[in-house]
Amino acid sequence: MSGTDRELVAHLMRRAGFGATQDEIDILELRDYEDIVEDLLNPEQFPEPEEDVARRYWIALNNPDGPNYPAYWIYRMVNTLRPTEEKMALFWHHLFPTSAGKSSDPPSSNVQIETFRRNALADFETILLDLAKDPAMIYFLDNSENHNGEPNENWGRELLELFSMGVGNYTESDIKNAARAFTGWTFTQPIPLDPYARYPSEFLYLENDHDDGEKSFLGETGPFNGEDIIAIIVKQPATAKFLSRHLYNFFVADEPQVPAWDNVPPLDPDAIDILVKAYIDSKGEISAMLRVLFNSEFFKNGRFKKIKSPTELVVGTVKIAGGMKFPEPGHTGMADAAAAMGQGLQLPPTVEGWHTGKEWIDGGTLTERVNFAVNQLANTSADSTKKIVDYLSAEGGTASPNQLVEACVAATGCTNVTDETRSALIESAASEGVLSFNTETATKSSAARIASMLQSIVSSIEYQFA
């Protein structure tokens, strides 16, 4: 075996991470596909992003319980050497959407994202247990108001409906009993860290506020505590199926929105069966499920079957342009851009999370997407343009309109351009003739043409797909 098709590498990196540059693909294509997958699924062998410089620029990060800082998360997505870890943190944020906007001063959402990162590829039981103990989640779904004798069902209900099993697989009585089992699961009040900040809240179990009576839950009975409830949930076939469908929707192809899952069958029932089997065989190990997923034919054949989420569009485009390598003050604009496209990180609209796929797009968000991508690629001295100048000028000092289009299509990863789009691009390029790199002036004007071509490609319909 030797090497992997470039387009397949690009597909894997777009889905398992946030895309790869041509330079990165040059290296990866020499390796076997399965090896690349193993690297992605074993992130701990690669160093974490260096934080020193980031903390110096964005001093708010030094506050352990500081306000949410999505621009820093985007910076990590751009620069991480562990792309699947960061992508899975985003997946868990989609699945367990917790808004930092519930009150003016909630427990830190940054701590929660850090937990998602740590548990990126862990087993589902650990993931749910840490989620149940996460102060931001406890506060968001009112489990701090869930008391012995006065249960609050918010967390118990969403745990079953949105976070693990999906509607139709449990009864109202199961919800009530789950809520009772989580009574006393709360968090410490934050301790001030003079003069500016606070130590983060921590999980707190109040035994005397816990209802230790008998509970019936999904056919089992006992004096269950929260751990028992989660242990029972992760054994359910419905859980395996629900999580599999979420992974399919996030990594393979756009499914209908989650509320429809109860009565609309999966796009590819066989694929869900394969993922369910991986869940059962591995006892819910996410890395095992993703190993099966990334190596499957349905994944490899799923190219460009998803609309890029705003975060994927922002990070992917910044990577293509070679931007955001070092922290800069203006970078908060990257998070604002994703928010304007409909995905405010750490501020999901509801506990149901973002509606994905086609629902990312309306007139306003499409305008934001196009203008953002065009602006990122405007600079003729950006990596994106410079590399193409080097590449096209290497052979004889001139390049044809055809070569220009092909080089730009490859650089943007937009290899799904239709024949119609490709001819439109070539005709537009041909109207200005052959590109010359023979003099400094000629090279400069060719660089401008390359930047314009890149801009046209990233504003296309095809570029909206991952």
Binding site: S104, D254, P349, V351, G364, T367, E368, E420, S452, S460
Partner: protein, 379 residues
Amino acid sequence: MVTKDAKKPTLVVVQLAGGNDFMNTIIPYSNGLYYDYRPTVRIAEDTVLPINDELAFNPNAAPLKELYDSGDMAIIQGVGYENSSRSHFRGMDIWHTCEPNSVATEGWVGKAIRELDPSGENSLTAINFGRGLPRAMVASGATATSIGDLDTYGLMTGVQAEQQRTQALDLFQRIYTPAIGTGPVQEYLARTGVDVLRGAEILKNGIATYSSNVEYADNPIAKSLRDVSRVHIADLGTRIFYTHHAGYDTHANELPTHPKLLTDLSRAINDFFRDLRNHNASENVVMLVFTEFGRRVQDNHSGTDHGAGGGAFVIGDRVNGGLHGAYPSLDLSDLEFGDLRHTYDFRGLYSSLLEQWMGVDSNPIVGGTYEQLPLLSRA
């Protein structure tokens, strides 16, 4: 597409983001409790602009007082809802969706748009001036346009050279021309792209001939309302405009910051209506000014914290001006966790505007029947 003959009722919504201090906007200046609660963040009695023996405008709101005195401004006192949220995000959400007890995804303006333009034939039926759409304007099947900067609105606005931009737009149009058989999602994208192009073109041509002898101030709310005015005067079929004025979260340094906000807001609104009148375009416009909550009754020696009941304004030629509803009691025993208790449900305010002005059934939009105020007289 757009009927130019009939001047249809139009609503302009101005959202004061951050929680406007209603007590320092419409001041209970003859009530001793006001001065007790506000040892620092108070407006001196000898500077206020009295409405009657009890209430007065903040001195920085003189241009609003002028509208009030001419009978074109209704002050809706004590607007709010039970168990008012003190969170900006959640509070604004409740105002946007009319759902205080659960998280909803559809907004009241969006649902109204769906009634006004059920087939979504005019992408300019509703316009937001700002970035992204506020939740209030989102509803499935409702078309709304969001404009950051009216003068540069559209696609490829970052492309500086005119010729290059034209070329890029031509190419965009060609790529987005709907092609049959590419798939439903691709076709939807194509249609959306073409709509954006067309909307931008209509706007650009529509505002090209605008001229005015009203000189708006140079600040964000003045700029937004001038944009609303330009598009309204262009008569492009827009029925609902939405914009916001930020900065009302005055926890600290309220004394220097709040007057500036009120000055900018009041003058912008006054200039806006003068501009419309000069263009004979005011009689079909009503403006709603609201905020997500009022502020804490007791000051914190520098500013005021998040509160509950607040107030709203409804302004326009057809508005029944004056005081509506009741100013919340300042008595300690009447306060709700130290905040003014609301006396009127905001959903009643929306219902009044929807039924009496926009002519749509409010019940399905606000989720029930709420007491209306006699705010409007339609000609």
